[in-house]
Symmetry: C2
Subunit: 212 residues, 2 copies
DNA sequence: TTTAATAATTGACAGTGTCAATTGACGATG
DNA sequence: CATCGTCAATTGACACTGTCAATTATTAAA
């Protein structure tokens, strides 16, 4: 162990702890993710992590930030590869779903965790925003091109809400039937696309569940 | 304190503890909801709750069961008051949203809580199912009447996923703009209605749901 | 080699969930 | 009325946890 930690050493150990934390979270939930257990798994003493993180909440925030960063990266990459705003929206939705399903524990730690004082971690907030921006931009462009009408933030949130809802269902095993999830994803994606494409002002005050 | 506890006494104390638990959860989250704090608030000693509940998880399950029971009751009541399946679906969606928004803490404890081994609490599972059944029934009836086509469970889940997504957004303060939530709710409700009513088989051969 | 800085460890404390042993209250019984 | 036996309630205790202060170990600089 060197006397002076290089910045790389610090980052490496932080990343190592984050990986162990995610694994512990996946296996035993937030409760089971104990600092002492983490330290033991890392092969160091109990309080060593305190030199790299302020406290337990700090570690959790770092874990979440790291995962949101991954999601942001892949989203930006997907967004850069599709020109048409509407097709880009669909591609983003699919990659979002793929990300969640292929890393269920990451998705869980990102969203199913106490986000009471999230704003105390500006870097985390930044990554969260960055992960949403590609979808936001696609919606804005669709609005500019006249395909959609409404507030970009709100529309983006509706899309995201639908995705999040169906992903949550899948991750908590509410969908038993094997290929139910793929079908539902398609239904949801198209339903939301249709919601975006419609003009609520025209249909005015009466809302219908069914339309002929 | 009487020597022999009547069944009513037991239920009363359980309910009392559940109320205190919900309050603690609302104020300090799951972590802050400590058994000792609960006991102190109830005016009894630390281990007295152990005579009424097996452990902490048991209390949480009871709290959630109690809330799901409320939701099931109001849903059944709403369902009984609307004959038309499609209108009933819409009414159920609105009452569902109203329930969540007027009791945000209850909603949070119902869904944003570690549901790892939920199946170990059959009564809780029963209330959860009961809370979903009115919507399920409405969807089934809509299918029987030919308005909709597809698997009732899956369609119900899509509806629920959308509602849950937008409610989650609202409860975590992601929607800043004052009346954003009402607008989004309307968009979501109509979008989902349209999803149910549409026939994707015509658009693409891979997925199906259908229209009137 | 000595020194000063800093990484890492250990000690300690308050707080938690939980079980075992103890105390306390009360209806039934002699 | 006094005693007993039962069950509710309390206290004691243990193994945990997060976290800070004090201590030790390590190593670059002098």
């Amino acid at each position: 162990m060197p006397k002076i930690l290089t910045a790389d050493d610090v980052l490496a150990f932080r990343q190592r702890l984050c990986d162990l934390a995610l694994k512990a979270f996946a296996e035993q939930g937030v409760e089971g993710m104990s600092l002492r257990g983490l330290a033991a798994a890392a092969g160091c003493s109990r309080t060593t992590p305190y030199r790299y993180f302020k406290n337990k909440a700090d570690i959790l925030a770092a874990v979440r930030q790291s995962q949101f960063q991954k999601l942001a990266d892949v989203s930006e990459s997907v967004a850069a590869s599709v020109a048409s705003p509407s097709q880009r929206l669909e591609a983003l939705a699919r990659s979002y779903i793929k990300f969640a399903i292929s890393s269920p524990d990451a998705y869980r730690v990102m969203f199913s965790v106490n986000q009471r004082d999230e704003k105390r971690y500006p870097e985390l907030v930044h990554e969260i925003n960055r992960s949403q921006q590609p979808m936001m931009t696609a919606v804005s462009e669709a609005i500019d091109s006249g395909d959609i009408e409404g507030d970009p933030g709100n529309i983006m949130h509706v899309l995201w809400a639908g995705l999040h809802g169906i992903i949550s269902l899948q991750l908590s095993d509410k969908l038993h039937m094997g290929r139910g999830f793929e079908e539902l994803s398609e239904v949801m994606i198209r339903a939301l696309g249709r919601a975006v494409a419609s003009n609520p002002a025209r249909e005015a005050a009466t809302h219908r569940v069914k339309e002929a």
